[in-house]
Amino acid sequence: MTGTDATRRTLFGQEHGFALPTVMLAMIAAFGMATAAVVASVGAQRGSIRDQQTKAAFAAAEAGVNHALLRYNRIPTAAGATCVPVGGSAPGAGGWCSAGTSGQIDRGSYSYWVRPTETELEVVSVGEVDGVTRRVEVEAKSAQGTTEGTRPFSFASVVGLDGISLSAKASIHADVATNGDIALSSKSLLDCSYAGVGYGRGYNPSVGSATCSPTQGEVSLPPVNSGDVMTNNSNGRICNLDPMLGQTCSSTYWNPTTKRLSLKSGASLTLGSAGGEFNYAFCKLTLNANSYINITAGAKVRIYFGTPEECGNESTPLVLASGSRIQPTGSGATDVAILIPGSDARATTTSLSADALLFECDQSFVLYAPRTAVTLNSRSHICGGVAAKSIMVNVDASITASNTAANFELPNTASHYSVGYTPGSFIECAAAMPVSPSAPDAGC
């Protein structure tokens, strides 16, 4: 008999129960089951965290797109330097701006690449949160979107960036757009088929009448690009080929050096000649009561104003006193645009006094002043397109759309100079982040 046999016999001979081993086994089995449940729960929780990170990464990618659009909508570009808003100059391989741009947002980050063309801006943006990435591609189109130039009146004939206000009995017979509110006072009338207001804005107050409901959105106006018109212009025609009647051509009324023109009451000046194109440049143009600027029938005339900085801080570049007019001399096709660049640093205003008139409805006329407040006082009237920083239409004053304003193209402004890029198409790229910055849209 060996020692092992003796031990075995001793063990089998014992009368102790199996309670403890049984309990231990049951406990181990229960623990195993509970562990499986916990593992499943942890797995589900991990999935939730992953979902959260995915959504956050996606939001970060969209933030990158918005950042790119903001830059391109705020920073002007020029031909051959379309990458300026993202810190480059000319596009590189594949038309992509070589410099990718990165930023931080909340607990994630984004990187984006842009490919600007004449009318479109392609943005590929990658968002990353805790190692989870999402990539999106957005093709934004210029709001004006033409190769030759921009058309600020393509959506609405009356655009007031900060707001449009109609006092009692005032009226606008046109489609309108603003980033602010449209104020309709008692007995005012907005005769429209489209009225764009800013996000969260509307008719406020709304005690007047409107024939259309407000649509929330965003509108932008490219700045005036005067080019070299302040030096190369048609000003030399004034008092020579362009006759001034009712007053002398002394420097009291017309100073070619300071570019200040004033027409006294009853005086008139006729600009341009039939079939020609003329660019005039002024620092200040004052039409006193019942004075007129006539535009020769068949002429295409652009009246530019200098910025306050160019014109001795002039804050009221265009003043039309009561009964004054800018009007065509006949029924021939006449095309007139008044372009006031204004300034972000200095407030500028333009006002039309009682009974003043800007043009005839059967001709092409626009007043384009994206950084200038425009005020129409009692019984004054504009017929054509009006774009301004803000528009105030006072008692009994009115604006009427012309059929031709929508086709007006802002001169010297190729579309890639413009602002107003809005997303056109959105793609969530399926593939992983490409390694080549020359083709960040690979797999989209």
């Binding site: 403890l20 999935g47 969530e428």
Partner: protein, 201 residues
């Protein structure tokens, strides 16, 4: 040391047993412990399939919402909208609509249809024709999973059961609890990034 070895040897060679009361008490304690352990084991065994099923439902819902959200996000126009179904023209990464090969994003027509039994996804060309149908989910508490938002007079109107080319789609998936308890519900919603105001074809 020697003393300890002697004590152990004496204990091992000791032939004295337990007293009867000791046995009774020990048996009862052992029975109680076993009963407790068995109850825990039984509960765990019973709960395990339900936990697995619930986990599967969560995974299934997550995948469905991810798929639908992604395609809605890239959607251009909704051709048909009800609480149990949705037809949308959207971008998918395919060589051909309804095919199986992946490629750059192309515009296809995707139809989601839910019944009491399952939810399916059918991908076809925007010009119509036969498509390829796959099953996305089973065991939903109710087949009404979609709701819609439209803009009226500049203000959104949401929670609609039907709409013409809405720009926002809400998704709600509810799964019944296998144990008869509270159901699990997933809520999400997506705005169409490529939404066009064109009327459905």
């Amino acid at each position: 040391m020697l003393c300890a070895l002697q004590w152990i040897r004496r204990r091992l060679s000791d032939e004295r047993g337990f007293t009867f009361p000791e046995l009774i008490v020990a048996t009862m304690m052992g029975m109680l412990a076993i009963a407790g352990a068995m109850m825990i084991l039984q509960i765990a065994v019973r709960a395990q399939p339900q936990a697995l099923e619930r986990s599967g439902q969560i995974q299934q819902a997550r995948a469905l919402i991810e798929t639908v959200s992604r395609e809605l996000r890239q959607g251009a126009s909704i051709q048909g909208a009800s609480t149990t179904g949705l037809t949308i023209d959207t971008y998918v990464n395919r060589n051909t609509c309804g095919g199986t090969g992946t490629g750059p994003s192309i515009l296809c027509r995707v139809t989601y249809a839910c019944t009491a039994a399952s939810c399916t996804r059918t991908e076809s060309s925007v010009s119509g024709g036969a498509g390829r149908t796959t099953e996305l989910a089973r065991g939903l508490l109710a087949p009404s999973i979609f709701s819609y938002c439209i803009e009226q007079a500049g203000a959104p109107s949401c929670g609609l059961s039907a709409a013409t080319n809405p720009s926002y789609v809400g998704i709600r998936l509810a799964y019944s609890n296998p144990d008869g308890g509270e159901s699990v519900t997933f809520d999400d919603g997506v705005a169409l990034r490529n939404h066009t105001s064109e009327a459905p074809l």
